[in-house]
Each structure stands twice: as structure tokens, then as C-alpha cells.
Amino acid sequence: MSIEVKDLSYVYSPGTPYAAAALNGVSITVNEGDFLGIIGKTGSGKSTFIQHLNALIKLQSGSIKVYDVDLTQKKPDLKKLRGTVGMVMQYPEYQLFDETVEKDVGYGPKNLGLSEEEIKCRVKEAVELVGLNYKEVADRSPFELSGGQKRRVAIAGVIAMRPRVLILDEPTAGLDPRGKKDIMSLVKRLKETSSPTIIIISHDMDAVAENCDKVALFSEGKIQAVGSPREVFYDANALALAEMDVPSVVKIARELQKKGVSLQGKPVTREELVEAIRRWRDE
């Protein structure tokens, strides 16, 4: 078990006329090795939730345990937490700041208090992991790279902290089809090599269905449904409540259902759909 959240609630600006509840009794367990997709409308509490996992927001009520860091304690070990949970925010390239790629990527490890050698080694590793040529980019200014490269450098800055849990908030937002594909395969590669647990916020249901093995559906500060993509994307009630769309594959299955064709095995990925249609046809 890597993350355990129990009964988490959060109110913005409590006690003022602007008070707004963002989370309302959220409980979820994330195991090591999970590829968790968090879905839900804008304003459903997704971002507030993931910010809690990195203690970027002060815990108001409920409990969060990330490996052996207990956030209910008075002074949790934040350095340890931030070395364990890496967070890639939306449009992370807008947070680059240093003169060279080398220095920028090394910012996180430096904050962790690592030695110069260790920092250098991690920076090199991270830059190469995200698919950039270390020798070519290390001494360049991050500001003169292309959009896609900037985003990679920003991700490398998080990877260099060697987090066991990597959280990404809409990592493909604003990219072209090629860029989207590249980032998604990068995330999968990172899961295999450096960060065994991945949590991703996405509005792209097709991508969630293809890549995640667990889905949490947020709505109005609550988790409306959680389970495998199959369980969640075929939970028509919960999806309707959360006003969420389903992956195209599920839409097609629904259309077929309407026409009296019920496919076996509730397909959510393209591969599963093709297989189910073949089987139905051979029946």
C-alpha cells in the first residue's frame, strides 16, 4: 500500500463569506504499481485532492498516509514526502526558471539536500529518461527549447527527485497529437523504470481507458465511483451523476446495446472492442 486517504474533507477560505467546500469525505487506497486515472468535471475536487497528497494543502479533516509519512502528525517529514511523491502540474513548462537545463532539473534534488555528485548523476539520468540528449541540452537555457522539449525538461525536474509515486495533472494538455502520444508513452516508460505508481488527472477518457488500470470518478468533492476502468465506465448511474462522458469504445458499445447487440466482457479499450465484435460475429 503506498497511499491511504481516509475521510478527507477540505473547505477553501473557511469562516469567510467566500467559503467553498472542495472535498467532502474522500477515501481511497492506492497500491504500489497502480496506474490510477482521476476523472471528473472541472471543479469536482480533483486538483485539491492531488495537492493534498504532496502536502501542498494543509490537512483540515480526515487522514492521509503516504508510505510511512503520516500527514495527521503535527510535523510530518515534508522533505521525505516530497522525495516520495513527485508532482507534475498543469503546463509544467511555465515553471522553468534557471539558466540551464542542468540547473533547473537539479533544483529538486538540491532542495532534498543531496551531494553535488548525486545531483549530477540524477539530472543526467532524468534528462535521458524523458528522451532528451543530455549532452545537447544540459548547458542550454530551458527557455530556448521547443514547447514539447520544455515540458520534458519540466517532467525531468520532478523525475530527478526519484519519486516512487508520480502524479501528473493533465500532462498532455495543449499538445499536438504527436506530443500527446510521446508524453503518454513517456509516462508508461517512467512507470516501468523509475516510478512504479502513477496517478494521472485527465479529461481524455479514451486515454484513461487505454492506459489506466484503476479509475476514480470525482464529482462535487466526492469519489462517485472507483474501480477498474471496466467497472467505472460501465457504471452509467455514477457517470450520469458526475455529468461525465465515456470513452468512444464504451459509447459504441452503448449504441450497439440500444440496437440489441450486447457484447461480451464490457470492452473499454480498442483492442477489447475489436475482439468482442469478432466474437459476437462468430457466434
Partner: protein, 277 residues
């Protein structure tokens, strides 16, 4: 954060809120001048009563108005204390070792404190009852005569308007960047002033880079919508004075006149004090 974002504006929809912002702005300007001419305690009291009355009419809780004074408490204390110890006069009240406090010093200190508080209160009432946008429009309108001497009044107003629009966006961005750097282990809270200032570099650099990017895009969007600083433009929003604006203007004028009358013609505060003696 919301409080900062929307300035101090405290919406109640009262008649004070609905007054023409130009009248309110002019009133504040004349008020500030007037405060320096207040002669004695009775007139100070009268001014406070006037402001409290206005606050009630504006339906703003007195607590909210008084909160604005908190920001200058330190200033008031320091200046009062300096005056208390360094004003010399004729009537010596306290003499202890090298400290001498005169009656005049005490009076000076009290009056200065009252004046500072008064100076804070009325303009606060303006910002509590007027949106920044209305203020911008009012300023543009009042500055119109300056066009004759080639002051780019519209451009100045546009700059203020864009600044107002961008402040909440940049604040949100600052917050986002701080969170992102915190997630990378940044520590903004501990250490001395120098360390804290240094810790802000990873926040300020992206913020500035972002601000320039936004400025670029905004300029392009304005070009696309035919903005020109020289061409003749029309103005959609026209501010019109109504009867209530004239009444409000007259009331303020009357109250402020009392201060000057009191100082130069009839010292009626002396008469009031004489009654009590």
C-alpha cells in the same frame, strides 16, 4: 485571497454604492485637504460622526471599516510617540531624567493620530463602496481636460483597466508556481530574509517570463481588434450625474465648509466647550 483579488469592495447595493464614482472621488480629494484644516477636538468628533453616519448609510459594518485602520496602526503609534517626546512647549507635564513631555506635545500627538486615522477612513469608504473599474472610469472622466495638453488620458485609463484585469490572474499564477516549486522541495518559510528572498527566485522568474508572454499575446489580440492610440474612438459607457449625486455632493461640500468656517470665521467649537464650562 479573494479579499485581495477584489480589492476592498464590499457590495451592499446601498445608495452610497450607487453614487457616481466621480462625485465620490472628488469628495475624497476635497476631504483630504479639509482634514488638514480641522482646528479642534469638536471638529474632529464631528468628522468622525460624519463618517460613521456615511458608513451606516452605506450598510457597511463598522467593524469592516475599522479593520482598514489596522494597516496604519504602526505608523500612527510611531509618529505619535515621536511627536510626544520631541515637541517642546510651555507647559511641562512630565520631567524624568532626560525625558520631557509638554502639554503641547500630548495635544500634538493626539491630533496627529486622529488626523491619520481620519485620512485612512474616508478613502477606505470610497474603495469599500466603489469597484476598481468604476474608479478607473471616474479617473478617466475627471482627467479629460488634460487631453487639451496632450496627456494620453485614454491610454492611461486602458493601462489601469488592464492592470486591474491582470492582477487576479497573476496572483493565481504566483500561487500555482509556488505550489509547483514547493512540490520540488522549495522552502519559502524558514531562514533569514536573504534566504527567503533567494527562495523566491524560482517563483519570480517564471512569473515575469509569463507576464511578458501574456503582454505579447494581449498586444496581438488588441491589434486584431483594431486598437489604435491615435484613431478616433467612441466610448460606450457614459457617466451621467443624477439628482442623488448632486445631493451627495452638496452634503459633503456643506460638511467640509464647516471645517473652514470654524477655522477662519466662527470658532464654534470654543462656544460648545464654553457651554460645558
Amino acid at each position: 485571497m479573494n479579499n485581495v483579488v477584489f480589492g476592498q469592495y464590499y457590495p451592499t447595493g446601498s445608495v452610497v454604492h450607487r453614487l457616481d464614482a466621480r462625485i465620490k472621488l472628488l469628495a475624497v480629494i476635497f476631504y483630504i485637504i479639509t482634514v488638514f484644516f480641522i482646528r479642534d477636538y469638536v471638529m474632529y468628533a464631528a468628522m468622525f460622526v460624519f463618517i460613521i453616519g456615511l458608513t451606516l448609510v452605506a450598510k457597511i459594518p463598522l467593524k469592516v471599516l475599522l479593520r482598514t485602520v489596522r494597516t496604519i496602526v504602526f505608523l500612527v503609534l510611531v509618529t505619535s510617540i515621536i511627536n510626544l517626546f520631541f515637541t517642546t512647549g510651555e507647559v511641562l507635564w512630565v520631567h524624568w531624567k532626560f525625558i520631557k513631555i509638554y502639554k503641547e506635545g500630548v495635544e500634538h500627538a493626539i491630533k496627529l493620530a486622529l488626523r491619520l486615522i481620519l485620512l485612512m477612513l474616508f478613502p477606505s469608504l470610497l474603495t469599500l463602496t466603489t469597484t476598481p473599474m468604476e474608479l478607473t472610469d471616474a479617473l478617466e472622466s475627471l482627467m479629460k481636460p488634460l487631453k487639451l495638453i496632450k496627456v494620453p488620458v485614454h491610454a492611461i485609463a486602458l493601462i489601469m483597466s488592464i492592470a486591474l484585469r491582470m492582477i487576479p490572474i497573476l496572483m493565481e499564477e504566483t500561487n500555482k508556481i509556488m505550489l509547483a516549486q514547493k512540490a520540488r522541495g522549495a522552502d519559502f518559510d524558514t531562514g533569514g530574509a536573504l534566504k527567503k528572498a533567494k527562495a523566491m527566485v524560482p517563483v519570480l522568474v517564471p512569473l515575469f517570463v509569463g507576464a511578458f508572454r501574456r503582454a505579447d499575446e494581449l498586444a496581438l489580440a488588441m491589434d486584431a481588434r483594431c486598437y489604435s492610440s491615435v484613431a478616433k474612438r467612441t466610448k460606450y459607457k457614459v457617466m451621467r450625474l443624477t439628482a442623488k449625486d448632486f445631493v451627495a455632493g452638496f452634503i459633503c461640500f456643506a460638511v467640509f465648509s464647516l471645517v473652514f468656517l470654524n477655522k477662519y470665521l466662527w470658532p464654534f467649537d470654543q462656544m460648545v466647550l464654553a457651554l460645558f464650562k
